[in-house]
């Protein structure tokens, strides 16, 4: 992969990287399509990264379907699917890590210790191997996108990071590889995450600026679904991820909730003048 990437870069051509954990859905495909439009060679990486899963999380049962993913990536015009083994990515207990301090222990990072260190480390490896000109991430994992952007900026990686809008099911549920875990009734209730964000958005349009009031409104929406247990509602400055009491400028509203035993996340960016 390194040699292939170097050949391309030597020709003065661009590489687009879409890093994924497989189980591709429309969200991933929208990233592949953007890469296809903007770069000469499109690489989709598929690697279920053990380092970003907590010990009680779903690493073992995370959906894996390489042949289906290959067909989808091919259909969207990807040139290469890079699907390394665990041993190739983490040879004999690799111990070098990349961490974006500060940004990584807030919000999602507080709930999933070590998660973003795992993400930053694997993305660093992928950047070194694939040498992308542009790497594509989804806004659904908003904190991840902020952290990767910061990593690239701070460590001067010669990569551009493009963050694309969350792709949603017709009822509003954010696309996620984990949606397959949901039972029929859970799937129906799961829409409450995006509905809660929509309710917050409407309140903001109506003039609401107090984070606490927005949080209460979101909780009210999700509380109507018996199978939902809200884990976190973060209302933060969009760049620094610092909690705000009063919306001002660009803010991010992030929600994490269990639907049955499945943990889902979603978020909304708002510009408040």
């Amino acid at each position: 992969m390194i040699q292939f990437a170097e050949q391309i870069r030597r020709r003065g051509e661009t590489i687009g990287l879409v890093p994924t954990m497989g189980a591709l859905h429309e969200g991933h495909l929208s990233l592949i399509r953007a890469a296809r439009r903007q770069t000469d060679t499109v690489v989709v990486s598929i690697f279920v990264n053990p380092l970003q899963f907590g010990v009680r999380e779903d690493f073992a049962r995370y959906p894996r379907n390489l042949s289906r993913d290959l067909a989808l990536a091919k259909r969207e015009g990807a040139d290469v699917v890079f699907a390394p083994s665990r041993e190739e990515m983490y040879p004999r207990g690799a111990c070098a890590i990349v961490e974006v301090e500060g940004l990584s222990d807030q919000l999602e990072g507080a709930l999933r210790p070590g998660h973003f260190r795992g993400v930053a480390t694997v993305v660093a490896k992928l950047f070194n191997i694939v040498q992308p000109t542009i790497a594509y991430f989804g806004q659904k994992d908003y904190q991840q996108a902020v952290i990767i952007k910061r990593m690239v900026e701070d460590l001067h990686w010669p990569v551009r990071i493009d963050v694309l809008p969350t792709v949603r099911e017709s009822d509003g549920l954010a696309m996620s590889s984990r949606n397959v875990y949901l039972s029929t009734v859970e799937r129906r209730q799961a829409v409450a995450l995006s509905q809660a964000l929509k309710a917050a958005h409407e309140a903001i349009r109506g003039g609401e600026r107090r984070a606490q009031a927005l949080r209460r409104r979101m909780q009210a929406v999700m509380r109507q679904q018996a199978l939902i247990r809200v884990q976190q509602i973060g209302i933060v400055d969009a760049a620094t991820l610092t909690p705000v009491a009063q919306l001002k400028g660009r803010a991010a509203i992030l929600v994490a909730a269990f639907v049955g035993t499945t943990r889902l996340i979603d978020n909304l960016l708002v510009d408040v003048t």
Copy 2:
């Protein structure tokens, strides 16, 4: 610098990087000469990296002499001296770090907490900016070289690391930018570090394999100099840096000592069958 590096890589040419903190001496120059022989474009970086200095260490008084360094680098055939400002390397409190866990808190790392995290982070930045084909390090900073090699391997950086032998003064003292701190009498006594290593080497040739016996012999040599205070003698596996009680295979013997108020280090690699 990134654009310049990309132009060179696009021509299919190689870049040699000699990362330094300036105050160039014969050790650095031997690295520049190796880069000159082996690569198309030679980049010498000069940056006194604040992140690798402890709060009570010599960051403020570390020797700086850019015009002299530029002349020396030019004389040895360097094509570029890359001497960024602190603000360029660490923009607005950059918080992304690289760390090689395990290897970084042993030996020197135990005495200088955070030192190797600072080293790994700045070298990662330099690799991303300069995009070297080969990067050159001196064996004098042996633990640093092991950590950088491990960082490159674990994070799959497309860089070759060459570690070149320590260059010494005629009496055996390892070249170091910090040697300028020594008074005349300290300078005379400082040779005891390399003499202690030489004594250990002779003992090993004579059949000695016990780390404790070697350590005692080295201490006896250094104790003869009133201005020397031994801080650490490490006798370790050369690859893992794990202490060994009995020499076997490839081992490293590392010494750190204060000569007056100046901290110096030196080391010896031995192959024992």
